[in-house]
């Protein structure tokens, strides 16, 4: 019962600086970091202290709300530092990696043993790969999800090519897929891009539902896919994972080792040439960037330009991210910038000449191109928001903190990433993604 779905509303922003499909091994020496801030809604409780020795797969901290959910070190080595911010908030745990990596051995449960599999994922620190809608947070291991969705393509600008990141990991992926089938009594959905040749890995997969999507970003967002395949109702839970995370889970099952390594795209037009690296989450960005010359002021992003986190040269790759994107900072004031029809600027509105060249690739910087204002222009979010949801009305219900209205208007079906394009095209420059997150947190707190 596969579905063919055409996404009409959305926007592909073509950016210069995509990564060349060449895979290198990132140098794996140095200090790695696990950042509790990568995990939304988690209050971390530390399990280690400075000077402790850990193996790859050993827990570093757990979630205060659910002690079973543990977060592991991706490397073996010595805890070099515990970094805290204001009010002693735990920001990062730095681990000085050993030259020779040591892995904790995990025992594989019997095939089809759901509880055993969940325990293994929790123990090894791979559970955080399994996330849930609503709220786009780490799944609750006690839930019985309606289904599991895996988005097999990413439509964000300069995103890592999923097919490329999976090449060479086919067996692990298949093993991981079996684990996904064990985790739910419902269906496992593989959501693929039908505008390109579909990877045989997905087509060959047995016992899953393959849904074919076509259309502009955010067609690759799992939230959009769930909405079009089986819209989420209040009280329902759907789990999801990224393909590379499925690979890591499959590898754990096959080898008994918590090996978090993944393929990451280094992209953005600040670089002469981007490429792909095999590395670990929490890897220092500097080590990947070695050899790339950068002059001037640049924005280093862990993730993509739409949803990634702002970091810097001394930052680390986030747990869920498969891209490091580097674009120039845009802190130059623009003389009559609101008047001059600058062909270098991109706009989804037709008030700038960019609509005349739909195929052009842009070299955009981080400039806001304006100041924050109240909602004035109508209809612009709707053009890039392929949900049967009224985005502005939902945002307004969040602004007035009306939880009942948020529920009625469909907050369970969305996450901040689904609103990323709304934020980009917003004439009033409103912080849409953080508003959505605020709403999600509010509803989650209310219902817990």
């Amino acid at each position: 019962m596969s579905k063919d779905i055409r996404i009409k509303r959305g926007l592909d922003i073509r950016l210069k600086g995509s990564a060349e499909k060449v895979l290198s091994q990132a140098p794996d020496t140095g200090v790695y970091a696990v950042q509790p801030t990568d995990f939304i809604g988690i209050t971390p409780k530390l399990l280690v202290k400075e000077g402790d020795q850990v193996c790859a797969g050993d827990p570093l901290f757990f979630s205060k709300d659910d002690e079973r959910v543990r977060f592991s070190s991706p490397v073996s080595g010595e805890i070099a530092a515990v970094v805290r911010g204001a009010k002693r908030k735990l920001l990062a745990i730095h681990i000085l990696a050993d030259k020779e990596q040591k892995f904790t051995e995990f025992k594989r449960p019997d095939t089809g043993n759901r509880d055993g599999l969940i325990d293994l994922l929790l123990e090894s620190g791979m559970w955080p790969f399994i996330r849930q809608r609503p709220y786009a947070v780490i799944a609750n291991p006690s839930d019985a999800p309606k289904s599991i969705h895996i988005s097999c393509f990413n439509t964000e600008p300069l995103a890592a090519d999923v097919d490329f990141t999976l090449s060479g990991s086919e067996e692990d992926f298949q093993e991981g897929l079996e684990a996904m089938k064990t985790l739910t009594s419902g269906k496992v959905h593989l959501n693929v891009d039908s505008s390109a040749p579909v990877n045989s890995l997905f087509e060959k997969a047995e016992g899953v539902q393959v849904n074919r999507f076509k259309g502009p970003h955010p067609a690759g967002n799992v939230g959009v896919q769930i909405h079009h395949v089986e819209p989420l109702n209040k009280g329902e839970v759907v789990w999801y994972a990224y393909p590379q995370d499925v690979v890591a889970i499959g590898r754990l099952l096959r080898t008994g080792k918590a090996d978090f390594s993944k393929v990451v795209a280094l992209a953005g037009h600040s670089l002469q040439q981007g490429k792909y690296f095999k590395t670990l989450p929490g890897t220092p960005i500097k080590s990947i960037l070695d050899g790339h010359e950068l002059s001037g002021d640049h924005r280093v992003i862990s993730g993509t330009v739409l949803t990634g986190n702002k970091t810097d040269m001394d930052g680390y790759l986030g747990f869920y991210h498969s891209e490091i994107t580097i674009i120039p900072e845009g802190e130059q004031p623009e003389f009559f910038g609101w008047l001059i029809p600058d062909p270098k600027k991109f706009s989804n509105s037709r008030t700038l000449p960019s609509w005349l060249q739909p195929k052009k690739e842009y070299a955009l910087d981080t400039n806001m191109h304006g100041e924050e204002r109240a909602f004035v222009v109508t209809g612009e979010y709707e053009k890039v928001f392929p949900f049967d949801i009224y985005p502005v009305q939902l945002l307004k219900s969040i602004l007035v903190e009306d939880i009942e209205k948020m529920e009625q208007l469909g907050i369970y079906e969305v996450a901040e990433e689904d609103f990323a394009l709304c934020e980009v095209v917003c004439t009033s420059k409103l912080p849409v993604q953080s508003m959505v997150r605020k709403g999600l947190d509010m509803v989650r707190e209310e219902l817990s």
């Binding site: 009280g235 994107t325 004031p333 955009l364 204002r373 009305q393």
Partner: protein
């Protein structure tokens, strides 16, 4: 460019915290951000942003109004010299100069008064100055008759900005279209000035030609059922080109069409509202045509029998539909709602125009009415979406 930037940087300390004019920071900020889009970079959320901002959106609307403004100036001159019977001897430039001499002071008064109030409220509320008034400030003179005294423009503007906008919280929060609020205020506060046939053409108190009448076509239709008079027999060509008396910006359908094209191509205004306002107006026109024989007076019968499509080129339907109804803040905000909102503006506009000769311009009242109803329309559209979701939930739990 560098020099201007340096100048701003030099005076800036006076306006920041602790400076001698710190209270006036919003005023400084308005001028600085007018000259330079600030070099702010995205600090949260998406790292790249669209090149459009509210200033660009607003300036696009002003650009779209420019043809109507320029034509309006020329027409003010034309009507003036025509009333004096000397239009034939005048050059293009004479007409423009006279028109500019009459119209530009109104533009200046509207902007000075309106922006002055905006600045005061921004200083009191310590928020930055919004661009909304840039459009309202141009619309107000365009919807006024040329012979209105400047102080009336000023008082109407004060009313529109304070009562129509600032009491609700400023740009983006208002319920009524500010420019129409100004027009409605002038209309109801000074009815003897704003209706009748004295105010649409400036005669400068000089002797006019025999049989002169400065009445608008709508005024004529309401009183006699005929578009023209002995002084001037207005035909279709005049209605489209715009060489007729009327509010400054409303007469030329060609200039308005140019503006509409700019708004539609850039996507700044909603095609739904414009299109369905036309559908609504034509529908009402057809209904009147069909029932003209039941009219209560011969004048009304003649008015009702005006071919339905002519309502689109008579009076201010075109101007109001293109520039007033499409105001995103006071209009319907959902795409489905815009269809109904536009339709009823056209529908009621023509209905009021024909049925109520005391208010020959029905579009103003129709838009203000629908401004009030827009949230209700949106409510039902959104309610439909909520019901779909509730139904789905029930089905899932059944």
């Amino acid at each position: 460019m560098k020099a201007i930037h340096n100048l701003f940087e030099k005076v800036k300390p006076n306006f920041t915290d602790g400076g001698k004019w710190e209270k006036f920071f919003p005023v400084y900020d308005a001028f600085e951000t007018f000259a330079f889009v600030p070099g702010h970079s995205a600090q949260s959320g998406a790292h790249i942003r669209d090149g459009v901002d509210l200033k660009r959106t607003m300036v696009t609307v002003i650009l779209a109004m420019t043809p109507a403004l320029l034509f309006g100036m020329w027409n003010v001159g034309l009507q003036h010299y025509k009333a004096l019977g000397v239009a034939d001897q005048m050059e293009f430039l004479d007409l423009m100069i006279f028109g500019a001499w009459k119209v530009l002071p109104m533009v200046v008064v509207s902007y000075a008064v309106g922006l002055g109030i905006e600045f005061i409220f921004a200083i009191i509320n310590k928020h930055s100055i919004n661009e909304g008034y840039l459009v309202s400030g141009m619309l107000i003179p365009l919807v006024m008759p040329v012979d209105i005294p400047l102080w009336m423009v000023a008082v109407s503007t004060v009313f529109a900005v304070v009562i129509g906008k600032e009491v609700f919280g400023g740009t983006g929060m208002n319920i009524l279209n500010p420019a129409l609020t100004a027009r409605a205020f002038a209309f109801f506060a000074y009815p003897s000035w704003m209706s009748g046939d004295k105010v649409w053409v400036n005669t400068g108190g000089e002797a006019v030609v025999d049989g002169y009448s400065g009445a608008t076509i709508l005024g004529n239709l309401a009183t006699t059922g005929q578009a023209g008079t002995a002084y001037a027999d207005w035909g279709i060509a005049e209605m489209i080109i715009g060489t007729i008396p009327g509010s400054i910006g409303e007469t030329s359908k060609i200039a308005i069409l140019l503006g509409a094209m700019i708004l539609l191509i850039t996507g700044v205004a909603s095609w739904r509202i414009m299109f369905f306002s036309a559908v609504g107006a034509l529908t009402m026109g057809l209904i009147f045509n069909a029932f003209a024989e039941y009219a209560i007076s011969p004048e009304q019968q003649a008015f009702m029998a005006v071919p339905y499509w002519q309502h689109l080129i008579i009076g201010s339907w075109a101007f109001a539909t293109v520039f007033m109804a499409t105001d995103p803040v006071s209009g319907a905000q959902t795409e489905k709602g815009k269809i109904w909102y536009g339709f009823f503006i056209g529908f009621f506009g023509i209905m009021i125009r024909v049925f109520n000769p005391a208010y020959p311009e029905g579009m103003m009242l129709a838009i203000l009415l629908m401004n009030v109803f827009a949230p209700l329309i949106d409510h039902y559209v959104v309610e439909g979406n909520i019901n779909r979701r509730t139904k789905r939930l029930k089905l899932a739990n059944a």
